[in-house]
Symmetry: C2
Subunit: 487 residues, 2 copies
Amino acid sequence: MGGRVDDLLIRLDGVGPIQQQVYEGIYSALTDGRLEAGQRLPASRTWAIQLGVSRNTIREATAALIAEGWLEARVGSGLYVRKSPQQSSFPAITSGSRLRLAEWSERLPVKTFVLQEKDVDVDFRPGKVSEEAEQVFRRRRLGRWPSDMEPGRLSEYGPPEGDARLRERIAAYLRQSRSVRCTGADIVITTGTHQSLDLLSRLLLGPGTTFGVEDPGFPVVAEIVRLSGCEPFPLQVDEQGVKVEEIPEGIVGLYCTPNHQFPLGVTLTPARRKALLARAAKDDFVILEDDYDCEFYHGKMPSPCLQSADREQRVIYLGSLSKILAPAYRLGFIVAPPWLLDGLRKAKWIVDRQTSMLVQNSLLQFMISGDFSVHLAGMRVEYKRRRALLLEAIQSRLSTWLTPLDSTCGLHISARVNAGYDIDSLCRVADEEGVGIYRGDAFSSAGRASNMLVFGFGGTPVQEINKGVSLLAVGWQSQNCSLGLRS
Amino acid sequence: MGGRVDDLLIRLDGVGPIQQQVYEGIYSALTDGRLEAGQRLPASRTWAIQLGVSRNTIREATAALIAEGWLEARVGSGLYVRKSPQQSSFPAITSGSRLRLAEWSERLPVKTFVLQEKDVDVDFRPGKVSEEAEQVFRRRRLGRWPSDMEPGRLSEYGPPEGDARLRERIAAYLRQSRSVRCTGADIVITTGTHQSLDLLSRLLLGPGTTFGVEDPGFPVVAEIVRLSGCEPFPLQVDEQGVKVEEIPEGIVGLYCTPNHQFPLGVTLTPARRKALLARAAKDDFVILEDDYDCEFYHGKMPSPCLQSADREQRVIYLGSLSKILAPAYRLGFIVAPPWLLDGLRKAKWIVDRQTSMLVQNSLLQFMISGDFSVHLAGMRVEYKRRRALLLEAIQSRLSTWLTPLDSTCGLHISARVNAGYDIDSLCRVADEEGVGIYRGDAFSSAGRASNMLVFGFGGTPVQEINKGVSLLAVGWQSQNCSLGLRS
């Protein structure tokens, strides 16, 4: 470190007063590591000429940086870098501050759940969607928007529940595609299922209550529930879906994925559906139905949603565009029964006023233009092809080790490790072969589904599916994975 | 009502199985009022031919609608509409359900605050922005995006705190334009100030605490604070900004707008700034600084933000793009001190995973391309023109009734009603003249600022400003508003 900086080129962007620009330029040099502690700045006379500014300008700019503690003036020797704001620009707390987070924060998860991205050649990570979806969406939307868009207003706030035309479109789509009983008036548009669940947790749960969550299931649901002071209860799931007979007494509600259980992929049987609704009526609880990926069915249409069979306003239906379009698009919705609607609208208003009209507008235009239907149909064909290939490949090439579970829709397949085989060995070899496969118990707080593997194909094109299964077959065979007994 | 429907054209969209399409078509007819209770449907034989579908298809579709209670079959007489799902498609709750909202919901406001939109010719409603901003933004962004965008991914989740490149850009802007001490690493991108405040309330406040809010001020702040079980305390404001000496003991924090108080428009004086930071250190509380509209200054640059003078990590800086771009764009940010950052990132992850990449991408591209600076400079000129005109017009034509308050930036001007004049009369005449002006006490829970008027000019073009002030001058003069004494 140390030493004299002879000339320091700083970019003067031409916006704002000139001394502010100089200040910014020096600050940037500190931030991005071009200036380090101990270094001496150029002499102001020369530097002023280099930069084409007055010495006074430099003096004003550096005075501010001295005051902020980044530079120091040494008498007779010029200006030196005292420290650099590289990591964080905040001063250390010197006094006896007791600043701290409130009790609520203690309920935040220690580590937010994210499936670790594996450095692999072929990745079967669930939760991803085809990149084609993104490309198609961008191309179409951007080609059309300027010409025939009738956009909602950006320059004024709109209704918290979302644009009325968009809600009508979504309702029509849900009625047609998923048999949801709704009109646009029943819908509240959110920024996705995280927000939908957070809003509903705050509205419906509270300290001292218990709420059922599928386990294995989406880990974030239990985390969100916990933030309201409510205790999540892990509900068991088998090949018929959530085990209704195991639901404990006294819950205020439960979360389920009846149409394509995550991660097992199974469908809640008709008998269980009936039993679940009966049980909800008896114990007077609500059901949050998350219908996250049933747009993509692979044979006949999937079973109508649970909400369509509800006669008591107990089922609250959740959906999102994360699978149809893209996860980072962030648009979801809640079909709310009348008793919930007013509170839900208010809560949405409070927490973020409304979902961005940029996002709402783009979806509305996508639907009005007919591109939504075209896109959905195209993605159905693509995902159907991927799923058929993956299923066939597992059945024909991996049947020694795995037995896939039945599922009718969605973007992943689950498979049970056959008796006598060790999932740890299978996963270790997969890692060595450069194939990302995911364990079912990653989605369980109770260590359940420990003999299950989850294969997502939303982000895995056809040629990669073939390659991945081949690598697994060869690797498992050659490394004698048949010898490892299940622990 | 009643009667036979001879032919009912239903739209078959060509998506999904044909009986589903017929179901959907009939359902839509019920929803939009084309079919009403008591009406008889066309005979299935004829109707099938009309629609070009089989009778069996119609039978399956109508069977579902009968099962759901919308249609009924009368023996020997055909199908009738039993009821229509026009208002809501949810069945009434018949059993003794105890479904209800949790205690949290009781803290939701009875009525969410929205300034009533007035049916006027000229509207000085604060909170609006120029429509030009929207047009410019759309045109530029859309023209450029397909060609030279380096977008973040839509098809995968990104970091909860937001895109790293965008955070760097925002940090550079804030350092330069507002003297905020920050780097991109200190920033968490939110969906706007509502969400920023909700996140911070949950993280910092809790039952049994007290939090100061400016009064008059943004009403939603107290509403959000209340949701955490915390009691908002209305802090007094005068022409020097928030009255530091009146801050009660024992608060955990306060919210303020030191650079352009909303709605008074005044700037917190240097002496008060110093006193506020000293008081915060003494009582160990946090300060949420909302710097909502200081990008638009009208003379010299406005005072640097309070955060820049903080030496104890007590000031949490909030900003948004609502004024620079558009309110319904929904992008805001928090500059978080180190002790807060980890909790804030987790909380953001939980409540909505991340802000839409569609929104983040568009802003990033807007900034990378340089259009952001051009847009900002252009809007500065436009708003400066509007403000100068409005101020001059108030001073020259309305000085009998009003005295405008000093302000250096932002998109509104406040004015005090001169002693001896009655604000109720002034507002009544303004209504009659078709001019929307807004009372200061609309922004107070304590009935304060009852002799103040707020003139927003963000959504009021130059010619409307002239017209509005003329109408007020003529109306107030002719209706002898000088006669009404202040109540």
